[in-house]
């Protein structure tokens, strides 16, 4: 009866699939779903983001089986994980460096979208969902950083929650509400832990929406033109599954280098000092991926009309992300990909330099030239978003687009 088993398996799968079409679904998404044939490696970062989300959730849950979210015991419980739990150091370092890796991947994914016009019609909602994911990610990362209850954990929490006091009238009340007390403390830690555990699953839900939106019209591509027929597309499997797998191993090489050989390079030494509410560290610095927003926040050193400098800084820092929601409408270019946009393709790099400059500003104490650079860079950022995007789209003459992806000049390099 050796033939029974393969037949039986196929029958069981058919039985299930008839009632819950998971095989049909997978077959459609992997084998039939048309993907542009010219996607470059810049299109790997979506699947890499998804994989990072899984890695962070898995390592996070494992850490959660050992971590104690109380201000008395949190720091010690993390040290116990590092010293006594089998492979605890590995799980901790993977999670800790994974936060940085996740943001690096997501930022590259975002800038890919900026360059190739992936936010343009009909992908506006896809883009908006992505920005929502970014916001949730920032909130999750911020709360996660508080959990080890080191000096930087405590003081970053204090500084950032204090931002809300800038809101007129109700601000200070909101801050007390957020803290659950009169300063960041044990109640704050407990609620940050609960929310840090919860938010990733909300991110999963938004990611699923993001994928549904993606599959409605399919991926953009380096040429920015729609695919016109089967000559322009290939099935996702096996072409992009193997390309994604290869990209994954290269990424893992970088990730594991950090985990095994430089696990604290991206972090702050001060966070290995237990939180001391009576002593502020010399330099309060957020993790690198929050530095640009921190720089914008600190760059407003003067009040604007009736808005205090503190409130203005808060508004601009949050706006720097919220403005991304409007990008599909701020950008007036009739053409998607920067390849065919002779002016924008250079201006794009100005934004990249600007964001890196903001990062540098955020990392340094706000004195001297740092302040000036920060103000110029903040100013430029909003000019780029609010003025350059609409203007360049209107003023530049795009290069002629190829007739189709198949005919598009030079094929994307493997």
């Amino acid at each position: 009866m050796a033939d029974n088993r393969p037949g039986a398996a196929a029958r069981i799968i058919r039985w299930i699939d008839y009632r819950l079409p998971f095989v049909q679904f997978l077959n459609h998404e992997l084998n039939e779903y048309p993907t542009p044939r010219n996607l470059s490696y810049w299109w790997n970062y979506g699947s890499l983001s998804g994989i990072m989300l899984v890695i962070m959730i898995v390592t996070g849950i494992i850490l959660a089986t050992q971590y104690t979210p109380s201000s008395e015991l949190a720091f010690e419980s993390v040290e116990r994980i590092m010293r006594d739990v089998n492979y605890g150091w590995l799980v901790r370092y993977v999670h800790m460096n994974g936060g940085s890796m996740f943001f690096a991947i997501v930022y590259i994914h975002l800038f890919r979208g900026l360059y190739y016009g992936s936010y343009k019609t009909p992908r506006e909602l896809l883009w908006i969902l992505g920005v929502i994911i970014l916001l949730l990610l920032i909130a999750t990362a911020f709360m996660g950083y508080v959990l080890p209850w080191g000096q930087m954990s405590y003081w970053a929490a204090t500084v950032i929650t204090n931002l809300f006091s800038a809101i007129p009238l109700i601000g200070p009340g909101i801050v007390t509400f957020l803290w659950g007390g009169f300063a960041v403390g044990d109640p704050t830690l407990h609620r940050f832990y609960a929310l840090h555990y919860l938010l990733p699953f909300i991110i999963v839900a938004v990611v699923l929406l993001h994928l549904v939106a993606l599959h409605r019209h399919g991926s953009n591509n380096p040429l920015g033109i729609d695919h016109k027929g089967p000559q322009d597309t290939i099935p996702f499997h096996p072409y992009y599954t193997i390309k994604d797998l290869f990209g994954l191993t290269v990424f893992l090489l970088i990730y594991t280098f950090f985990v095994f050989y430089a696990p604290n390079y991206l972090g702050e030494p001060d966070n290995y000092i237990p939180a001391n509410p009576m002593q502020t560290p010399n330099h309060i610095v957020p993790e690198w991926y929050l530095l640009p927003y921190y720089a914008i926040l600190r760059s407003i050193t003067f009040p604007i009309l009736f808005i205090s400098s503190k409130l203005a800084g808060v508004i601009l820092a949050f706006s720097s992300i919220f403005i991304l929601f409007f990008l599909p409408w701020l950008d007036t270019s009739p053409v998607r990909s920067a390849r065919f946009r002779p002016i924008y393709k250079w201006v794009f790099w100005l934004l990249v330099i600007d964001v890196i400059a903001l990062g540098w500003v955020g990392a340094n104490p706000p004195q001297g030239i740092v302040v000036t650079v920060g103000q110029i860079a903040t100013f430029y950022y909003f000019i780029h978003m609010l003025i350059l995007f609409p203007l360049i789209g209107k003023l530049e003459r795009p290069l002629p687009l190829p007739s189709s992806i198949g005919a598009g000049a030079p094929m994307a390099k493997p």
Binding site: R37, E76, E79, M82, R83, W89, L90, Y93, I234, P238, Y239, I242, K243, L245, F246, T249, V250, L252, L253, T256, F257, V259, F260, Y261, P263, N264, P269, D270, Y272, I273, N282, K345, W346, W349, V352, I353, I356, A357, G359, W360, A363, N364, M411, P414
Partner: protein, 254 residues
């Protein structure tokens, strides 16, 4: 292509600039030491770590606790189970309450954390003019510059330069930010007699105690380096195979 080069150049310029900005500080640049645990293949020199534990025990532990270390951890730097038991037994540890409700002292066991010199922070401050000698279990990771920094501090005591005003009770240290350091120089030649006969000069003791403290902060390093090598080699092979597979699968498309 030119665009890529331009992009790469500007990104590198900024990374370099920021690196330089980060390094710049008011104090002297940190001299780099050679450590057995440096680099991808680094491991802890156990003999050095044991000498370092002796320095900690005989000099530093008068003021500084290492509360995240347990006696049983000492097995990792080469002490035998009996040696660990003996070291632990030499300490008195507070336990209790007993059936009368009293706390009591008993000899230490391997499973105990290494007790610090003071029962709490307030007692530590009272004994040290209000200053709190920090716990040393993580000091190497808790300071920018890590082992090089701690070594520089231990060997960086000097006479203050002419005209420099020392505050009361402070000590001039070249590498401490602001140069006013509350800890008096802890090490002097032959403060300790090493069991293996190594001459106990200040640089030697500093080197050994920093090796010990680096191990104390990062006991997983040997494991981490070893398994890291395996993981990275595996990934290099995997990347090669996946790349070849990718080329093969994509051949008809190109």
């Amino acid at each position: 292509m030119a665009k890529r080069a331009f992009a790469a150049a500007t990104v590198s310029a900024f990374v370099l600039a920021s690196a330089i900005a980060w390094a710049a500080d008011e104090t002297l640049p940190l001299p780099r030491q050679e450590w057995s645990f440096d680099g991808v293949f680094g491991t802890y020199d156990r003999a050095s770590a044991q000498r370092g534990f002796q320095v900690y025990k005989e000099v530093c532990s008068v003021c500084h606790p290492v509360k995240h270390l347990h006696f049983r951890d000492l097995g990792e730097i080469g002490y035998s189970e009996d040696e660990v038991k003996a070291i632990a037994g030499g300490y008195q540890v507070t336990d209790g309450p007993n059936d009368e409700g009293q706390m009591y002292q008993r000899p230490g066991r391997a499973s105990d954390p290494i007790p610090g010199p003071f029962p709490n922070d307030q007692a530590a401050r009272a004994a040290n003019n209000g200053a709190l000698p920090p716990d040393q279990s993580l000091i190497v990771k808790a300071r920018a510059g890590g082992p090089d920094y701690v070594y520089a501090i231990l060997t960086g005591y000097k006479e203050p330069p002419a005209g420099f005003k020392m505050l009361e009770g402070m000590n001039y240290n070249e590498y401490f930010a602001g140069h006013q350091f509350a800890m008096p120089p802890p090490l002097s030649d032959n403060a300790v007699t090493f069991a293996d006969g190594t001459p106990a000069t200040v640089p030697q003791m500093a080197h050994d105690v920093v090796t010990f403290l680096t191990w104390a902060a990062e006991p997983n390093l040997d494991d981490r380096h070893r398994s890291g090598l395996k993981v990275i080699l595996f990934l290099v092979v995997a990347a090669g195979v996946f790349y070849a597979a990718k080329r093969k699968i994509w051949a008809p498309i190109h």
